[in-house]
Assembly symmetry: C2
Homo-oligomer: 324 residues x 2
């Protein structure tokens, strides 16, 4: 049994989280830093290294007291080579060898994996998916990420980039996605899509309580505010969420037909809408998926909240150390 | 090492194939029978049993000289319970316990799996996917089936129905599919979709050499005839195939983003079109998938032809016997 803790880092488009996590999955200490992703790779890398230094001094520890450093990051990760090859959330990152940069500085076992994959591993080991061998996690937030657990293990694919479920085309003639394609699940059911749809409809002259909620600054509408309006009975807001939930259901029905998973876990900021989002999505899965897998799958909310990526990154490091 | 051969059966919508297959994957004897699926389950079950009896007498063997009977069938298979729960190609089949019907008659280890899953296993062990750990097989014919190999093993999902890739929605506003949904990959890129598109365009008054090829009987147009016309330089036929290939590419780009597979193998009757279909489809994958997994994947034709299902069913039986 590996007794030393792991230093886990979650590099997102908005913030960098860093934590010391015990081998029982307990967060011993945790800090946040702003990513300031628009400054490009080098300043962000410097902030990641500062975050690690910060955690070292905060916890009064050094590399020798750790089992490893494990990083989860938004983007297409080449996990064989420990590189972020591309990231819609980290502008300018192209084939950045983040794992080795950290490893060479701290001279300790270092791991790098996709943030949604890490979250899937976290939920599988410590959250909603405990004991479930075949599951898919979707993180529905600004974008839509995915992680796949098969036979109790994180599925990486041949280079380590598996799980980009948000970039599954479900409406080939649909709106353009951040990835450049049209009609990805992310372009139709993410928080960004929900906000965009509400803004478009209001700009076209439709009436909604949202206008008042944002004091007339329509561009300030977010998915969270759409939810707020829907809960107050605003029909436009409700319709916008219902439409996104329908697309989410179409995407999940695809996954159910392809994977026949035991469980789909929905995490990410938009998942905080709970059954307002999940109930119509579940209904679409029931209607569209084949009945055998459609009846077998449980569609449940995530349990670990914002810590899923950190916890999953730690779990990954512990698993890799065990294999060694 | 299992020395006895397996009796493999492939139950399709058109024909039932039966073969004795050695543990080296050699077909010792093989027979075909018409399915006559429109007569419903019981007559087809009787024909399956007759096929088994026929092979027994043809090979002059009985159950005691076999490692088992292994059946591949078109449909949504509950492999835990050995049942065909539903099949678009076998009208009226609803939760039919085919495995146990055969097992109880012949008192021998009996297996049942989806035909495209069997084909994936066949290609993985004996065909285009030898030595490839993560691959997806698509059978593009009347419909579109799928089989998934992960970590060198057939992936079944929680009930055994995984791999229904043909029923992935890629155009939520697209044409209706045999499954009842709109815009499945199968409704846009199968042989049926190719024939339907050509028929529709000609019925709308467009000119094509196809009209002559079918002697004016437009409803006789098949994907094979569209290919023939395209190869003779008919532009409508070429456009129809190009459009289907594009949709196939969209579906494969989804799979590449989700699975990051080493290989996608394309089998089934429509795959006989070769590069006429595959080249434009590969181009779409290149354009739409993320570059890391998009460049990693090899998209190749199947090698085992119509025998893939039979061979894969046999491989499955040998693998199951080894596990025992």
């Amino acid at each position: 049994m590996q007794e030393l803790p792991v230093l886990a880092i979650d590099v997102g488009g908005t913030k960098i989280s860093a934590a010391i996590i015990s081998n029982r999955g307990q967060i011993i200490t945790k800090e946040y830093y702003l990513t300031q992703a628009d400054e490009g790779p080098q300043p962000v890398i410097n902030r990641i290294l500062s975050a690690i230094d910060g955690i070292f001094s905060l916890g009064n520890i050094d590399s020798s007291q750790l089992a490893g450093i494990s990083m989860a990051a938004a983007g297409i990760i080449d996990s064989n080579r420990g590189r972020i090859t591309f990231s819609p959330n980290l502008p300018g990152w192209c084939d950045v060898p983040l794992r080795d940069i950290v490893k060479e500085k701290y001279l300790i076992d270092t791991f790098l994996l996709n943030d949604a994959s890490a979250a899937a591993l976290g939920e599988h080991n410590l959250g909603a998916g405990k004991g479930v061998d075949d599951l898919i996690l979707l993180t529905v937030g600004t974008g839509i990420g995915g992680g796949i657990i098969i036979d109790g293990k994180l599925y990486f694919g041949s280079c380590g980039s598996a799980g980009e479920i948000g970039h599954m085309t479900i409406d080939v003639n649909g709106p353009m996605c951040s990835c450049g394609n049209d009609g990805c699940l992310e372009a139709l059911a993410s928080g960004t899509a929900i906000a965009r749809e509400a803004i478009t409809r209001i700009n076209q002259g439709e009436r909604s309580a949202l206008t008042e909620i944002v004091d007339g600054k329509i561009e300030d509408i977010t998915a969270e505010k759409v939810e707020m309006a829907a809960r107050r009975g605003d029909s436009l807001a409700y319709e916008v969420i219902f439409k996104a939930a329908n697309y989410l259901g179409v995407g999940m029905a695809n996954l159910v037909n392809i994977f026949n998973p035991e469980m789909i876990i929905i995490g990410g900021g938009v998942a905080n809408m709970g059954d307002l989002l999940l109930d119509p999505a579940r209904q679409v899965v029931k209607e569209r998926a084949f009945s055998l897998p459609g009846e077998a799958v449980r569609i449940v909310p995530a349990q670990l909240g914002n810590d899923a990526g950190l916890l999953g990154a730690a779990v990954f490091a512990f698993q890799q150390k065990l294999v060694k």
